[in-house]
């Protein structure tokens, strides 16, 4: 009776995009931006969006051209067996590495902001354990769970944003250009990979009901995520001022600790569950993608059996950094700089190859 055949529709796809990429505003990704460009961090996001527009556009073009093939197939087809393998391998490594950094960051957030005495190991195990359960279940169910929780998560996020904008001071947004135009340009170009996860969405194209779903989902998601990201950065600045915000590790969590909701003066624990659900689903999706890529590399059909092994690998890698607060933010920055070229140029290379091969005209 299942007429969906395990394929996900626009709602689920959109929910995945919003949750996996949207959750980034709540970790320490904004911190490095504030650090470098000060009060103009939100402009950086707009520019980042503009920079990312081209690769995402090219990618969408490619995916529409090759109707029922996902990005892995396209890469193999266009770049050949060996280069294709290398590129996929590179993508898998960066993807897995980003899970390690991100999950370690999230575990650290839980550790420093909420569960101070609990050993990191256990927080981490639970975080990745739940994510692995989701990844093992499959994309379809991650999508469904994401859609079911999306409304609640968005309401929570907007309550936070509205409250912090109301309780903040608008003048903190000035000086409008922060640390200056050159810095803004540099950072937005180098950090474009913050939106780089849109690349990974190309891998699940064959699990979507149609390429039209992909096209619509990507653009709606892209606009929504960029807008929310921008709003969030503005609200952080309005609450904390650009001088103080640099000192905060996790602006989102400081925000929910600071804002007041009527008679409730401490609402952080009210928003914690929403944030956690989003984080679990986010890592579920990442783990799924990681297993998918690994499966594609070594021709493993039932790649969801790989999930537990990858999850264990991630836990042990993620536990390595000492003094995670500082180590991770450095690692993340370097990582962002490293992956940006991949995100910016891979779609371009693929598109050019396709054009040269004359396969786009069909």
């Amino acid at each position: 009776m299942d007429n969906t055949k395990g394929k996900i529709g626009i709602r689920e796809f959109l929910a995945i995009i919003l949750i996996t990429i949207g959750t980034k505003v709540t970790d320490n990704t904004p911190t490095s931006l504030f650090d470098k460009v000060g009060s103009a961090a939100w402009i950086t996001v707009i520019l980042m969006g503009l920079f990312s527009f081209i690769p995402i556009y090219l990618l969408t073009k490619l995916i529409i051209a090759y109707e029922d093939q996902n990005l892995i197939d396209i890469i193999f087809r266009l770049l050949g067996k060996y280069i294709g393998f290398f590129v996929i391998f590179l993508l898998w490594t960066t993807e897995t590495y980003s899970i390690v950094i991100n999950s370690a960051t999230y575990a650290d957030i839980i550790e420093t902001m909420y569960f101070v005495k609990t050993p990191l190991f256990f927080t981490y195990i639970v975080l990745i354990g739940v994510a692995a359960y989701g990844a093992k279940k499959g994309l379809e169910f991650i999508g469904s769970a994401a859609w079911v929780s999306l409304i609640g998560l968005n309401i929570a996020l907007f309550v936070v944003l509205i409250l912090s904008i109301l309780q903040g001071r608008f003048n903190y947004v000035y000086p409008i250009l922060g640390n200056g135009i050159p810095e803004i340009m540099k950072e937005s170009a180098m950090n474009a990979s913050i939106l780089g996860e849109f690349l990974y969405l190309g891998f699940i194209v064959t699990s979507l009901r149609s390429t039209n779903v992909y096209k619509k989902g990507i653009w709606i998601g892209f606009i929504y995520v960029t807008t929310v990201y921008m709003l969030a950065l503005i609200s952080y600045i309005m609450l904390f001022d650009y001088v103080s915000i640099v000192n905060l590790n996790y602006p989102f969590h400081e925000t929910i600790r600071f804002i007041q909701l009527g008679f409730l003066t401490n609402v952080e624990s009210l928003f914690l569950p929403f944030w956690l659900v989003a984080s679990f689903l986010r890592f579920s999706f990442y783990l799924y993608i990681s297993a998918l890529l690994f499966g594609a590399l070594f021709k493993i059909k039932q790649f969801n059996y790989l999930v537990p092994s990858i999850a264990i690998l991630i836990v042990f890698l993620g536990l390595i950094p000492e003094a995670p607060v500082f180590t991770l933010i450095n690692l993340r920055e370097n990582f962002a700089y490293l992956t940006t070229p991949i995100f910016l140029f891979l779609p371009l290379i693929l598109w050019i190859t396709a054009k040269l091969k004359g396969e786009l005209k069909k």
């Binding site: 969906t4 569960f115 354990g129 769970a145 624990s269 679990f280």
Partner: protein
């Protein structure tokens, strides 16, 4: 002394943790192990099974002589036939089996009538079967014409036995190698009464009773459609239980019907007494906490589902019906949602949703907040809780578990209690357990409020199955909150969410039409205006998607 008690209690606390963790990790790790050590596991399993296996004497198979006999056709000699039937029914030991010998007037033939008096209408037999035969004077008339009711013929012993067991009258005539069968079955049962478990304030009050025919009639009363099919199959081998599949031919999906029929045909059981038992045979996820077949006693609800393309199962001896496939929403909804005015209907939907969340989470949230996230509580409440908890000797998790279990006990006890004593139990439960426990410093007053609120909310979830699901799920949530605060609670919630989305009931995703999305049916958390609910649920792939007639 207090120390030791406390120590032992904290030990139980850890044990609970252990249980939780085993449950929690069981899922992911077991599947991983499956891959590597599946065979080893089976070997060990077999080894342990062998180890503990008891030596039993072989069971004897029931005599097959009777079975062979039953396949035969009856003899034309009346005396022989009667001899045979007397033997089968153990007459005269079997007291309600009546054999009556008569001589048919006019044609002057000996005949015998067999009935089981307790399940047949004796007056009808007397007036419509025996009397016409006795008073006949016409020599040329055939026997079938003598009898006023419709008459069937049967010649295989087995078939005749089935007819007699159904309360029908069998007429054997000397010299004829077949029996005449006249319908006269009259089983005793309740009449149509008010629905007791699914009570509504506004709307029809009838409920199904134990007679399938009455139930079918109740449905047919609501759907006067020639395409309404009542298909019957026998699902058990010995008791010959009859099952009725009710659906609308040009709406219900063919594939779904075949799927269910295959499942029914593959059953190989002696007896299935009623639908509640059958439910377990049909379900895909037997061990799952979430029900996948809807069980209702309301004919209006059943017909509503039939008209949407669902399939309804009816059976004798079951004052209810099974509806399949079922989604989460069919358990969540209530027929009154649509009977009440639009806004009121949605109001009770909101209430029910709140009740669902309160039942599931309130005690878990209490544990999480008072043990891990104290800063969330407003200062006055914090001090108030702190002061009342100070004199309670148990950790709050033990305290709340104790009260939760007590509440469940009262509930279960109250359910089984004979009616006259019922109110007393209520008073005892409320008074002794609430007031006295607080006064004895066993629990703090706030915990009583929390548990009582959670318990009362659970009554707002009308469906029996979902009710149990929610009540049972409370406990894992409680323990996870005790172990890891809101983090544990949310982790378990996410797992549940992922699990629920992956359940399928006869191929239909559990949360459809919410996700995977189906734009045809929009009745999920809130109901739409009836005039806007234009389509049948698309996830059933009905043959006719639109609810409007014709053009």
């Amino acid at each position: 002394m207090v120390d030791t008690i406390y120590h032992s209690l904290s030990l139980t606390h850890s044990n609970l943790q252990f249980l939780y963790i085993t449950l929690y990790f069981g899922g992911t790790i077991r599947k991983n192990m499956e891959l590597y050590i599946f065979l080893e596991k089976m070997r060990v399993k077999r080894f342990f099974k062998k180890l503990l296996k008891e030596e039993h004497p072989p069971f004897e198979k029931a005599a097959t002589e009777d079975d062979l006999l039953k396949k035969k056709q009856i003899d034309s000699s009346l005396a022989d036939t009667m001899e045979l039937f007397k033997k089968i029914y153990y007459v005269p030991n079997n007291s309600d089996v009546n054999i009556r010998y008569i001589e048919i007037g006019g044609i002057k033939k000996n005949a015998a009538v067999i009935t089981i008096s307790s399940i047949s209408n004796t007056k009808l037999i007397e007036e419509l079967v025996i009397r016409p035969l006795l008073i006949n004077e016409d020599e040329s008339k055939e026997i079938e014409l003598l009898l006023s009711p419709q008459v069937r013929k049967a010649d295989v012993i087995e078939d005749i036995l089935v007819e007699i067991n159904n309360g029908n009258t069998t007429l054997f005539v000397d010299g004829e190698p077949y029996a005449y069968i006249i319908s006269s079955g009259n089983f005793q049962g309740r009449s149509v009464e008010k629905a007791e478990n699914e009570v509504v304030v506004k709307g029809p009050k009838e409920s199904f009773n134990e007679q399938a025919m009455t139930n079918i009639s109740l449905i047919r009363k609501r759907i006067r459609d020639e395409k309404l099919i009542v298909e019957s199959t026998t699902i058990s081998k010995r008791a010959k239980n009859e099952l009725y599949l009710v659906y609308i031919k040009d709406i219900a999906n063919e594939e779904l019907i075949t799927n269910i029929k295959n499942k029914l045909n593959s059953l190989d059981i002696d007896s299935i007494q009623n639908l509640s038992v059958l439910e377990e045979y049909l379900e895909d996820h037997i061990y799952s906490l979430f029900p996948t077949i809807l069980y209702t006693e309301r004919p209006d609800r059943a017909s509503e589902f039939i008209e949407d393309g669902f399939i309804v199962l009816l059976m004798d001896n079951s004052p209810d019906s099974l509806i399949l496939p079922a989604t989460f929403w069919s358990f969540f909804h209530n027929s009154e949602d649509h009977y009440l005015r639009f806004l009121f209907g949605n109001f009770i939907r909101i209430l029910r949703l709140m009740a669902l969340f309160i039942t599931l989470f309130i005690s878990a949230i209490y544990i999480a907040i008072t043990n891990y996230h104290v800063e969330m509580i407003p200062a006055d409440l914090l001090l108030a809780i702190s002061s009342t908890r100070e004199i309670v000797p148990f950790p709050s998790l033990v305290e709340i578990l104790m009260l939760e279990i007590a509440f469940e006990l009262i509930r279960e006890g109250g359910l089984r209690v004979p009616k006259p004593i019922g109110p007393t139990i209520g008073i005892v439960g409320a008074l002794i357990l609430g007031q006295a426990a607080v006064q004895a410093n066993l629990v703090s007053p706030l915990v009583v409020i929390i548990v009582a609120l959670g318990g009362l909310s659970s009554f707002a979830i009308g469906d029996t199955n979902l009710n149990y699901t929610v009540r049972l799920l409370r406990f894992p949530f409680l323990i996870s909150a005790g172990v890891f605060g809101l983090f544990g609670l949310t982790a378990l919630f996410t797992i549940c969410l992922l699990y629920v989305t992956s359940i399928k009931s006869f191929g239909v995703p559990y949360l459809a039409p919410m996700t995977p999305n189906d734009s045809t049916a929009k009745d999920t958390i809130f109901r739409r205006l009836v005039k806007n609910e234009l389509f049948r649920p698309g996830y059933l792939k009905p043959k006719d998607i639109e609810k409007k007639a014709g053009e």
